[in-house]
């Protein structure tokens, strides 16, 4: 169980990215965070694994205080939290295999890994992960030779290498073709359902949110302005949506088969 308590982040230039944000995520939740660009979604996700240092507040995960963790302890927490990014964040010039093995860095010995020496079982694990995501045949290509959807699957494979108990996904489908969005989110849902993995994901498209979320929180200007369960989000009207996204917002469809208002 993840507990975020009174989390505040103020950047050096004075921008308040998060203001007194508190929420809980139960194990096995598929929590979707919605909000405009700049509303603090990315900051919130990065505060959870401390890629960004929170200014105030506390984050507890299974009773461990993430905000107080340091050095080795922090790395041990991080390695159990996978992360998937909007722009995939692969090392473009390295091979797919190397990128996936990168997810194992928190577990292996430092020096051999720097020299690209990984235990045999890790390599097998990487192949299995690629297999599972359907890109095993791409393993020896350079990451930047792959299409966007394939790259994001490499990103997920890298996260899986961490044997994560939780995955943070920062707008995982925002730079993909809408048609591919379902394929990526299906993978995450599968992990959520089959392995009871907790997933925190920021998303934009209402129809995707309605299809995948088990719970939703909405951010506006760094504050939580909406909390909803699966049922509530399914019943969400355009008016409520506009409350979070502002009057200018127009709902767009994110894929075939999903109805959308224009």
């Amino acid at each position: 169980m993840l507990e975020v308590k009174n989390l505040t982040k103020i950047y050096d230039d004075g921008t308040v990215a998060l203001r007194d944000v508190s929420f809980t995520v139960e194990e096995g939740d598929f929590l979707i965070i919605i909000g405009l660009s700049g509303s603090g979604k990315s900051t919130l996700l990065r505060c959870i694994n401390r890629l960004i240092e929170p200014t105030e507040g506390q984050i507890l995960w299974n009773g461990e205080d993430i905000t107080a963790a340091d050095g080795k302890k922090l790395r041990r927490i991080r390695r159990r939290i996978g992360m998937v990014f909007q722009h995939f964040n692969l090392v473009r010039r390295s091979t797919v295999m190397e990128n996936v093995l990168g997810g194992r860095l928190g577990y292996v010995r430092q020096w051999p890994s720097v020299l690209r020496q990984f235990p045999k079982q890790d390599r097998q694990k990487a192949r299995a992960a690629l297999e599972r995501l359907g890109i095993a045949d791409q393993a020896h290509k350079r990451a930047d030779e792959l299409s966007g959807g394939q790259q994001q699957r490499v990103g997920i494979a890298r996260a899986l290498m961490q044997d994560p108990e939780m995955i943070l996904a920062d707008e995982p489908v925002a730079s993909l073709d809408p048609v591919l969005a379902h394929s990526i989110l299906n993978r995450l849902e599968e992990l959520n359902r089959q392995e009871d993995m907790t997933i925190l994901c920021s998303l934009h498209y209402l129809d995707l949110i309605q299809e995948y979320a088990s719970r939703v929180i909405g951010l506006r200007a760094g504050e939580i302005v909406y909390r909803g369960s699966r049922e509530q989000i399914r019943a969400m009207t355009d008016e409520e949506f506009k409350d979070i996204y502002g009057e200018e917002a127009v709902r767009v469809s994110a894929g075939p088969g999903e109805g959308g208002l224009s």
Binding site: L51, R78, F85, V91, R92, R93, G102, L105, G155, Q162
Partner: protein, 505 residues
């Protein structure tokens, strides 16, 4: 569309067309200014002023000695009628065209004369032609003069090989002036070449007070036992050991031996080279020589020297690149904005590093060599120093830009996996930096080898050092060999470096 109309209305002329034209006659560009065409007016005024100023300067340069302006103009016109006439005519035409331009701009239709700018361009082109002393006639008529040089440089390989030579010679003493005891002709040794002169004494040629030649005694030379049917040169050696070939009517004296290896010819005794203080009878020698090539062709000195120096050049470039990289890597970190933007102090270091690198880079390597030669003397070492300095600045900038350009995304992603700092650098930073670093370094090596062929021109060692010497000695064949080596090496290197870079990036 609405806004555009109002804009055009606000641009309407302040004065009527005739007034604008009149204003432009008084001061070019003024009418355009009044027609609310600020930049057009400034451009025309500026052009007219520069054209007049430059023209005045050129006329003065053509007629420096004339006292008055009119006299200068007349003299300049006399010397360069086409240039001066064209310039004055075109300037007057430009003035009129400028008035017409102003008139039409002030008109509600608001359309100027495009030809004004074309005319300005023509004026500057004509001035440029004269100022830079372009002389097409000379370029064409004197082109054939370059042929001997050009052909030697383009195909210098005759000078690349040589053969060992063997000399067959015999000499005979000559006394000058004649005294009581003229030397005996040399003794005959059987089988050896033999030369005899008659008489064995005489007077050297001399100049009288009118610088006319008083011919010396004519000697009859009789040679025997030389190589048959071979060209034989006649040499002279004076008492202090100066050797030279005898010339008569401007040509070297040579003779062909007959089938038995004998010859007979008459030569005048050469011009006296000894100082007048050397008085009294002296013994000179006349010598007949047959020089023949023997043995297989062997590489000549220019070829061997070019190869040696080319190797030196390549290593010079390599060492400079090597040292440059060693220094440039740490410096590039100081010059990377993304790494140095922390505090005002580190930003200060960033600006200083950048500034120094920009200054060093803007000074040509040739100038650095000149400085380094003063420092460590002639040879490849000052070349290495100069190229290293330039390489540090150039690579430092390129490297730092590569560092600035790295994608922070992978760093974030690797950190999120629980990796240590070292692992993060090894996995997310190094793979991003290696390709540009390798690529820039090879590119620089390529540049440095090319530059090292030039640094020799100012004393920096390498092939340029011998190239400039051959050129100054007018030994164009040898220079041609050096040029060929440079061309071949640079071409190969160009290809190799492009190939390697392509593989890496």
């Amino acid at each position: 569309m609405v806004t555009r109309t109002t804009q055009e209305e606000s641009k309407r002329s302040l004065v009527s067309p005739p007034v604008a034209a009149g204003a432009s006659v008084v001061l070019p560009g003024l009418g355009q200014l009044l027609a609310r065409k600020l930049w057009r007016g400034v451009l025309i005024l500026g052009s007219v002023i520069s054209v007049l100023g430059l023209l005045a300067w050129r006329i003065d340069a053509l007629a420096r000695r004339e006292p008055t302006a009119m006299a200068k103009l007349a003299r300049a016109f006399e010397r360069r009628p086409v240039f001066v006439g064209l310039m004055i005519g075109a300037t007057v035409f430009l003035w009129l065209l400028n008035a017409l331009d102003a008139y039409r701009l002030a008109h509600p239709e608001h359309r100027g004369v495009f030809w004004v700018f074309l005319l300005i361009l023509v004026l500057f082109f004509t001035l440029g032609w004269q100022i830079s002393e372009i002389d097409m006639r000379k370029a064409v008529t004197e082109l054939p003069d370059t042929w001997p040089l050009f052909s030697r440089v383009m195909w210098p390989w005759e000078a690349a090989v040589t053969r060992r030579t063997e000399t067959v010679s015999a000499r005979a003493p000559i006394q000058s002036p004649c005294a009581e005891d003229p030397p005996e002709p040399p003794e005959r040794t059987s089988g050896e070449p033999y030369l005899r002169a008659e008489p064995t004494c005489g007077d050297l040629s001399e100049l009288d007070e009118n610088n006319d030649i008083i011919p010396g005694t004519t000697l009859t030379l009789i040679g025997e036992n030389f190589e048959p049917s071979t060209e034989t040169q006649i040499w002279w050696e004076d008492p202090i050991g100066n050797e030279f070939r005898i010339r008569q009517e401007g040509e070297y004296v040579t003779v062909m031996t007959d089938d038995a290896g004998s010859f007979q010819l008459e030569v005048r005794m050469p011009y006296r080279l000894l100082p007048p203080s050397a008085e009294g009878p002296q013994v000179h020698y006349v010598e007949a020589r047959q020089v023949s090539d023997v043995g297989p062709p062997i590489p000549a000195e220019p070829l061997l020297l070019s190869i040696e120096r080319m190797i030196e050049t390549i290593f010079l470039g390599m060492m400079a690149t090597f040292f440059g990289i060693i220094f440039a890597v740490p410096i590039s970190f100081l010059a990377a904005r993304n790494l140095m933007s922390g505090t005002w102090f580190s930003m200060g270091i960033y600006y200083v590093t950048r500034g120094v690198m920009n200054i060093v880079r803007s000074i040509e390597p040739l100038i650095w060599v000149t400085i380094a030669v003063q420092w460590v003397g002639l040879g490849p070492f000052p070349g290495i120093i100069a190229l290293t300095i330039h390489t540090i600045a150039a690579l430092g900038k390129l490297y730092s830009e590569a560092i600035e350009g790295i994608d922070p995304g992978p760093i974030e992603a690797i950190q999120a996996t629980g990796a240590t700092r070292l692992q993060t650098i090894a996995f997310a930073v190094v793979p991003q930096m290696i390709p540009p670093f390798v690529s820039f370094s090879i590119y620089r090596w390529d540049i440095n080898v090319r530059m090292s062929t030039v640094v020799g021109l100012v004393g920096g060692g390498g092939i340029g050092f011998i190239l400039i010497q051959y050129i100054r000695l007018l030994n164009f064949r040898a220079a041609g060999i050096a040029v060929w080596f440079i061309a071949i090496t640079v071409a190969i290197l160009d290809y190799v470096s492009a190939e390697i870079r392509e593989r890496f990036v």
